[in-house]
């Protein structure tokens, strides 16, 4: 195979903080790795340990929670 490992990362991001930061990083044309699949949530206070276990259940390699 010899394929490069491209990790699947799931990102839970707060609408008001990290998601906005991601947005501003995009607008300012900063380069960052495209491995993160983002789920926008209204507040990271909604985070539940179950979400993280679920994420690993469906085959992600890592979970990033950004508040």
């Amino acid at each position: 195979m010899g394929q490069k490992f491209n990790p699947k990362i799931l990102g839970f991001m707060c609408n008001w903080c990290c998601y906005a930061a991601a947005d501003s990083a995009g607008v300012a044309r900063y380069q960052y790795p495209p491995n993160v699949r983002t789920i926008r949530m209204m507040c990271t206070g909604r985070m539940d340990p179950l979400f993280i276990i679920d994420a690993f259940c469906v085959g992600t390699d890592g979970v990033f929670v950004g508040g």
């Binding site: 990290c18 930061a21 900063y30 960052y32």
Partner: protein, 170 residues
């Protein structure tokens, strides 16, 4: 919550570095880029979580994950975590060390037993009929613990024993 999740991941054999909780304000684009880059590099160095081919229903990791999932759905661990946070509020101490100590002191044990208990039932349901020795070996805890869980399940009528092997009812 971060420490709590790390404990669970460690218990089911996932490197707890695969999960991270970080803060970046809306004005901190460059910080966000750094966080994401670092985390991606970290996952890259850890390698894939599963074999190529992805999720299969019967692999060992999936059973452990499902066990953790059903343990987390139930009230015991959730109230445990809730009560712990109440304690932090009362004492006004939210330092990392304090959180680590308290989670260790109050929750580590119940995380262990709850996940083992759910794994026992899950394995009987999926892999039964199964002998109790095989069950103990696969779960990797002491036989007396497994026997205790099984006895409780039999009492509730969830599990039956026939010819020395356990299977789930229904």
């Amino acid at each position: 919550m971060e420490e709590f999740v790390r404990k669970i991941l460690a218990k089911i054999g996932i490197d707890s570095d695969r999960f991270v909780l970080k803060w970046a304000s809306a004005a901190e684009g460059p910080r966000f880029v750094k966080l994401i880059t670092d985390f991606t590099d970290r996952i890259k160095s850890l390698g894939p979580l599963r074999e190529p081919g992805g999720v299969s229903k019967d692999d060992e990791l999936q059973i452990k994950l499902l066990a953790a999932r059903s343990a987390l759905e139930k009230a015991k661990l959730r109230t445990g975590l809730g009560n712990l946070t109440k304690g932090f509020r009362k004492e006004g101490d939210y330092s990392d060390q304090q959180i680590k100590d308290k989670v260790n002191e109050k929750l580590t044990k119940s995380i262990g037993t709850e996940i083992d208990r759910n794994e026992t039932l899950l394995r009987i349901q999926k892999q039964g009929p199964i002998a109790i020795d095989d069950l103990t070996e696969k779960i990797g805890v002491s036989g007396t613990d497994v026997e205790k869980y099984v006895a409780a399940f039999r009492k509730k009528g969830l599990v039956v024993k026939a010819e020395g092997r356990l299977s789930a009812t229904k």
